[in-house]
């Protein structure tokens, strides 16, 4: 019982780390970046290579994946993405899915289409059990690790967005870039930073998730739907929304599959549709006041 809850939370947290970057670019910058999964994939592949070819320890790979992918994101932002901000959503979809296609084919070309595997260090592989009977709680160490990383991440992001002016400056820049600039906000830098952080988070998510979700060139397309579900259900105006949504979906999915395996993938989709019909703007919307 508790184990299922634990697995659900870990799975949800993983979805969150993967999707939070998208929540930032889509929710705060109002830019639909369907190539988000490609950044995550880049993080995953970087980790695999750093570990296999360079012998970098797993823990060091995580910040490495974050930084490299963030830099790559920054570079792409400067060169390709910037002209896209003002374009209609459909154009953004077209553009970013094109990028995702290119990433898929390119990885396939350079690395091959087979699954890549991350070799976790020994201390992350074990499992701890407490309690027994109905209250037995089995915790995979790696899942525990994911939960910890994710919790830290959430707190940090939340602090940045609420304790600094960065969040509101970003939204101002999105609402009206011309006037925001005229009122002293350096719109380009704000966007660049946000995009880089969003990409970096995707990279980190990919590095963390490769172990559980697997890693092959189709990654960006395979999981895109999940990321979008998290962001749309969570609402696009905060960090806590997607977190709650990811947890909800993670737990519902794991529990659904455990208790009614026949429902398979139904649970998640049904849940999503019902939630969105009930609250079209997602579970957590930004209202006046806090």
């Amino acid at each position: 019982m508790l184990t299922i809850l634990f697995d659900g939370i870990a799975y949800g947290m993983l979805l969150f780390v993967l999707a939070v970057g998208l929540a930032v670019t889509l929710g705060l910058m109002n830019f639909i970046n369907l190539a988000h999964g490609a950044f995550a994939m880049a993080g995953g592949y970087l980790t695999v290579f750093a570990m296999q070819k360079l012998g970098v320890p797993f823990l060091a790979c995580l910040p490495f994946a974050f930084i490299v992918v963030a830099l790559a994101g920054a570079l792409l932002e400067r060169t390709l993405y910037r002209p896209m901000y003002g374009k209609p959503h459909l154009d953004q979809v077209l553009f970013s899915i094109g990028l995702a296609f290119m990433a898929v084919a390119a990885v396939d070309y350079f690395v091959g289409s087979s699954q890549q595997n991350v070799q976790l260090p020994e201390w992350l592989r074990g499992r701890t059990e407490v309690g027994d009977g109905a209250l037995l709680l089995g915790m995979g160490h790696y899942r525990l690790f994911i939960i910890a990383v994710c919790a830290v991440l959430t707190v940090v992001l939340q602090l940045i967005l609420s304790k600094t002016r960065f969040g509101s400056r970003l939204r101002a820049a999105v609402d009206d870039p011309r006037v925001a600039a005229g009122l002293g906000i350096n719109v380009n830098i704000v966007f660049l930073l946000t995009f880089a952080v969003g990409s970096g988070l995707a990279g980190l998510g990919g590095a963390l998730g490769a172990e559980i979700l697997g890693l092959d060139p189709t990654f960006p397309l395979k999981y895109m739907i999940y990321f979008l579900i998290v962001v749309s259900v969570g609402g696009t105006s905060s960090i806590t929304g997607p977190l709650a949504a990811a947890l909800l979906l993670g737990i519902a999915d794991v529990a659904g599959k455990y208790f009614i395996p026949k429902m398979g993938a139904f649970t998640v989709y049904l849940l999503m549709i019902l939630i969105l019909m009930w609250r079209p703007q997602g579970l957590f919307t930004r209202k006046g006041g806090r």
Partner: protein, 367 residues
């Protein structure tokens, strides 16, 4: 004007989820051509590769175009069951032999009298496991299969044979084809505490199941993992890490099959494709090409589809996997099925065969 050409239309998933199937088969087919020359019975063999992304209506259109426009003599490949089935009516209508090199649902060969299969069927390999397991201390089992044709086949035939042999199947779990996390299913297995978990998932997902199996400490809880060979796919086995050691699977091909023919095959394959290790897909493609070549030789380049088909039926030969023949009645391949255990040789993981069940026909056709 093309009368001195012999065209083979190879329809495979080259992109998308099933891409690795296509890559293996194409590489093997090309290897076969490189080894055996591209002129047979005075005809120049031409291989036309098409990507169907494992989407059946695309398969069907490609097959139709190959037959009508390119006038191919044989269509071959077919990564997934629906694709093979989609092309079947065309094979019948145009009397073109269709050599199925990968798709493994039992019923495929019944869809058209022009279908010949060089791969395997899931019933074939699952019953072998159903025979072996009860004899080796596995009394209770939970099955976990991917929820589609081959998975259902594997579940059905394994369960039947296992129960026949006195085993008990506690629960049958089916996981969605695209399933990101196996945790809930595996936890359910763990809670059911069987002697063993029988797994079939398409190659690619195998690694994930294996990892999470270990992560959940199921091996330590006394649950063994048994599976069809798809799970310990040769192409990926090395990346799965030492956790895979000791997993017992039943399958018709292992890259470690200890025969000279196989050694030669594996060496040549890896020389031509340094990044890959041939797996059961590759051998299906390799043997499929052989079936076509031999049929062409036998008909001396004359005669149409019917003649070719007749010459394909009943072929007996030594494949890298071992001795095989094409059953003249069912047009399905009959082959030895091996029980293998994952072991480490020269720092690499291999499926090492330790038992064999000779001449297994597809049990799906028994009735």
């Amino acid at each position: 004007q093309d009368s001195n050409k012999f065209k083979i239309g190879l329809i495979l998933p080259m992109t998308g989820q099933q891409a690795s199937t296509g890559r293996q088969i194409e590489a093997a087919a090309r290897l076969y051509m490189a080894q055996n020359g591209d002129t047979v019975a005075g005809k120049k063999i031409e291989l036309i590769v098409k990507d169907d992304v494992a989407t059946p209506d695309v398969t069907k259109r490609l097959a139709q175009e190959l037959i009508v426009n390119d006038k191919v003599n044989v269509i071959a490949g077919f990564g997934v069951t629906p694709a093979a089935l989609a092309a079947a009516p065309l094979a019948t209508q145009s009397k073109t032999p269709q050599v199925v090199m990968a798709a493994a649902t039992s019923s495929i060969t019944e869809a058209s009298p022009y279908i010949v299969r060089s791969s395997f069927t899931l019933p074939q390999v699952s019953v072998a496991m159903g025979d072996w397991a009860p004899k080796n201390g596995v009394k209770t089992v939970v099955t976990l299969v991917a929820d589609y044709g081959p998975g259902n086949d594997a579940e059905k035939f394994f369960t039947e044979r296992f129960q026949l042999n006195g085993g008990k199947v506690i629960e049958k779990l089916r996981v969605p084809l695209r399933n990101p996390d196996f945790a809930p299913f595996l936890q359910k297995v763990r809670d059911a505490k069987p002697d063993a978990l029988f797994v079939f998932v398409p190659s690619g997902a195998g690694a994930a199941v294996m990892k999470q199996f270990l992560e959940r400490g199921m091996d330590k809880a006394g649950i063994r993992m048994i599976a069809t060979g798809d799970v310990t796919d040769d192409d990926q086995l090395n990346d799965m890490g030492d956790g895979a050691l000791g997993v017992v699977t039943s399958h018709h091909y292992s890259a470690a099959h200890p025969s000279p023919a196989n050694k030669k095959f594996v060496e040549a394959f890896q020389k031509a494709n340094p990044k890959m290790r041939p797996n059961f897909m590759a051998v299906g493609g390799y043997d499929g090409m052989r079936v076509i070549y031999e049929a062409l030789k036998a008909t001396k380049g004359q005669g149409g589809g019917d003649a070719l088909l007749a010459a394909m039926k009943g072929q007996i030969f030594e494949s890298p996997r071992g001795p095989v023949y094409i059953d003249a009645q069912t047009r399905d391949i009959v082959q030895d099925v091996y029980l293998r255990k994952v072991e480490k040789k020269d720092g690499q993981l291999y499926n090492v065969e330790f038992d064999v069940i000779k001449g297994v026909k597809d049990p799906g056709k028994a009735k």
